[in-house]
């Protein structure tokens, strides 16, 4: 073995060593990215498992983080106190669920059955017919042919709760009235806090075994949902709501957007 050959062997060995050391150096400086990438791999493998279980979900899942507040609203009868404004319409109020039910004195014809919001968007601003109407937005996901739903907007997000929505009753192409709940005197309880992404929420739901096999996740939406009631107020937090079609049934699920826990 001549010296030159030995040199070549050493050269190859040291080049291999250098490649390894360079890799280790970049590994070290990208440790946190490495952690992120391992999280991505976990997410990818979970999504693959969903497909294996024949669970389909919306194609474009957002990975974007969001933020929201802990908020509260008093469980009071504000709508009842203001219902005098709706004098010409027949009103009824339930103190149990703080719900105002109104039957219009004159029913309103819908110009389009497919797009009922085109008509209702105009009447919702009429304060003699609807209280605080400008705080609500049309919610096509919850609406049906017989019930057009508008949900209250709070700090840029929908309220996804029994409280904070207007359900317009539609019969034979006419809006005959509605039932309404309202979150009033909303207080922010803590500073804005980061929420998990839509993708992460789906992964949590699956990992909690709350997604049945052979089902279809129709939509996943971020909104304010009821967390608990205490001392005459209700606390709401950002939550990811899921609508799932499983066989013939429709399932609703919720994930706490702050910590990924399943909500009842």
């Amino acid at each position: 073995m001549n010296f030159k050959r030995i040199e070549w062997i050493f050269l190859i060995a040291f080049i291999a060593l250098d490649i390894f050391l360079i890799g280790a150096y970049y590994n070290q400086s990208g440790v946190q990215t490495e952690n992120n990438s391992s999280n991505t791999q976990t997410a990818t493998s979970v999504l693959r498992s969903l497909k294996d279980d024949q669970i389909s979900y919306p194609k474009k899942l957002s990975n974007k983080p969001n933020a929201g507040f802990y908020i509260s609203s008093a469980d009071d009868d504000y709508l009842l106190s203001q219902s005098g404004q709706l004098a010409d319409n027949q009103t009824d109020y339930s103190k149990t669920d703080h719900k105002l039910t109104v039957t219009f004195d004159h029913k309103i014809k819908l110009n389009s059955l497919k797009n009922p919001q085109k008509t209702i968007n105009k009447i919702i601003k009429d304060k003699s017919r609807i209280l605080e109407g400008d705080e609500y937005r049309y919610d096509p996901r919850l609406s049906t042919d017989n019930e057009v739903v508008y949900t209250q907007m709070v700090y840029g997000k929908r309220v996804t709760s029994d409280q904070g929505c207007i359900r317009f009753v539609v019969a034979n192409g006419y809006v005959t009235g509605y039932s309404q709940t309202y979150l009033q005197d909303i207080q922010i309880l803590r500073e804005k806090k980061a929420t998990i992404s839509q993708k992460r929420a789906l992964i949590w739901l699956y990992q909690y075994n709350k997604l049945p096999a052979n089902s279809k996740v129709k939509w996943i939406e971020l909104g304010y949902s009821k967390l608990l009631s205490v001392n005459g107020s209700t606390v709401y937090i950002p939550a990811w709501s899921f609508l799932i079609n499983s066989g013939n049934s429709t399932l609703y699920r919720k994930i706490n957007a702050f910590n990924g826990a399943v909500m009842d």
């Binding site: 040199e7 509260s72 205490v230 107020s233 826990a261």
Partner: protein, 443 residues
């Protein structure tokens, strides 16, 4: 021919030099040799009311965050705060982009010069509760800056009235000032915060009280009151989490108003049935002689993780080198809970007497709920100090003063705890509400 022959020698030589150099860099930076995913992040599982477990990752830099942002302008200093915005997280959106290129030499300032620096116009301060090193502030990407290794600081100062913002590390304890230069970094969010477009400005002055630089509120300050739904963990959870790793079985006995859990390996956990205060102790696992601040703070974080608690609002509060104690407290928007019985607090004693201790409370804050009172008006700091001295307390005995939260049981629900802000004074080694000192409840 000669050159051709020599090329092989040179290339081999270069490969050898490169491998020696890379090895040296990697060896000098010990983080490579340790498991980074454990050092810098932790998976913390938390049980919520429904009994479900989920993991949230608490990073080292989430615990070792600044606790306040101060900005000087127009000849005055102001604390920037907001009830809607997490000011510190906003600032971190900037600091995460910073890459430290170099650190200048550290200068020791005279008292007069340091005080002047703390009042310098158009200077912002990200203030940590106590001394820290750059290893804990992993937002500052500076793995190769040797000059910063082990350097202690408790303020990151940013000078805005230069062409490009200048960044300094300040240490109140020894008045050391180090200028650092960044190869990249944004200041967009910081600029917005110091412009007070989304934040409230409260006038203050940072000045010395005995040995400490302390925030003096110059006028009355309205501090928000909070209420929380509080939950009590069962002691058995911590028997598993803290004591469960050893092979020996755990026994228990009742002693006065305490339940003592113990095993044969020297582990012991005392739980007060009245207050929910827990004191866990074990023989020290610390075999290294390295008690540098950075090593202590990393160890403290590791012990904190052992409790497996949700650490969302938990922040590093102070380190006592004499007894090697690291204290973490629950911070509610700028101010810490300073209640007794370790409520919202984690006291880690890292050894020194041969045993380690973890002190905390079974109680934890679960969900904020509406408070019966929106805010409390507190007097200017000097007024509080004057009241204390007028009542016969020597100012020399007051080693610190700060605003914090004490807890009170809510009138309408036992499960709800009210966090009421007041001034706390570091008196006889513990933080005490100043009213208790005035009322003679503390001697």
């Amino acid at each position: 021919m000669k050159i051709k022959d020599n090329i092989l020698h040179f290339v081999l030589g270069a490969a050898v030099v490169l491998s020696v150099g890379l090895s040296a860099i990697l060896w000098v930076n010990p983080t490579y040799l340790q498991n980074n995913s454990k050092e810098t992040t932790s998976s913390v599982s938390k049980s919520n009311g429904s009994g479900d477990d989920q993991t949230t990752k608490t990073k080292l830099s989430d615990i070792y965050k600044p606790t306040s942002v101060i900005y000087n302008h127009g000849g005055h200093s102001y604390v920037q705060s907001s009830v809607k915005l997490d000011v510190i997280e906003k600032v971190r959106q900037d600091t995460r982009t910073w890459k430290v290129k170099d650190a200048g030499s550290t200068k020791k300032y005279s008292e007069k010069k340091y005080q002047s620096l703390l009042r310098r116009d158009q200077m912002a301060f990200l203030t940590f509760s106590d001394e820290i090193t750059s290893s804990e502030v992993t937002d500052l990407q500076q793995k190769t800056v040797q000059a910063l290794r082990g350097k202690k600081f408790n303020r990151v100062a940013i000078q805005f009235n230069k062409k490009k913002p200048q960044v300094y590390l300040l240490n109140d304890a020894d008045r050391h000032v180090t200028k650092i230069s960044l190869s990249q970094g944004t200041f967009t969010n910081l600029r917005k915060i110091v412009a007070a477009k989304e934040t409230k400005e409260t006038p203050i002055d940072i000045k010395k009280l005995n040995d400490q630089y302390v925030i003096f509120y110059l006028s009355s300050v309205n501090v928000r009151q909070y209420s929380y739904l509080a939950t009590k963990d069962s002691a058995s959870i911590f028997v598993t989490r803290l004591m469960g790793s050893s092979n020996s079985s755990v026994n228990s006995r009742r002693e006065d108003q305490q339940m003592i859990y113990y095993d044969n390996s020297g582990q012991r956990m005392a739980v007060s049935s009245k207050t929910g205060a827990v004191d866990y102790s074990s023989y020290s696992r610390d075999s290294t002689a390295n008690h540098s601040l950075s090593s202590e703070l990393k160890q403290g974080f590791s012990r904190l993780q052992d409790t497996d608690r949700q650490l969302d609002d938990v922040r590093y509060d102070e380190y006592n080198a004499n007894n090697r104690q690291v204290t973490y407290r629950t911070y509610i928007n700028t101010y810490p809970i300073l209640a007794d019985d370790n409520y919202g607090t984690y006291q880690l004693s890292l050894g020194g007497t041969g045993s380690e201790h973890i002190g905390f409370s079974l109680y934890f804050l679960q969900v904020p709920v509406p408070s019966s009172k929106e805010s409390v008006e507190l007097s200017p700091t000097q007024q509080v100090l004057d009241k204390l001295t007028q009542s016969g307390i020597s100012q020399k005995k007051i080693n610190g003063i700060r605003i914090g939260y004490q807890r009170a049981v809510n009138d309408t629900s036992k499960q709800v705890v009210d966090l009421v802000p007041t001034y706390f004074v570091l008196y006889n080694g513990s933080w005490t509400p100043y009213q208790d000192i005035l009322n003679g409840k503390v001697s």
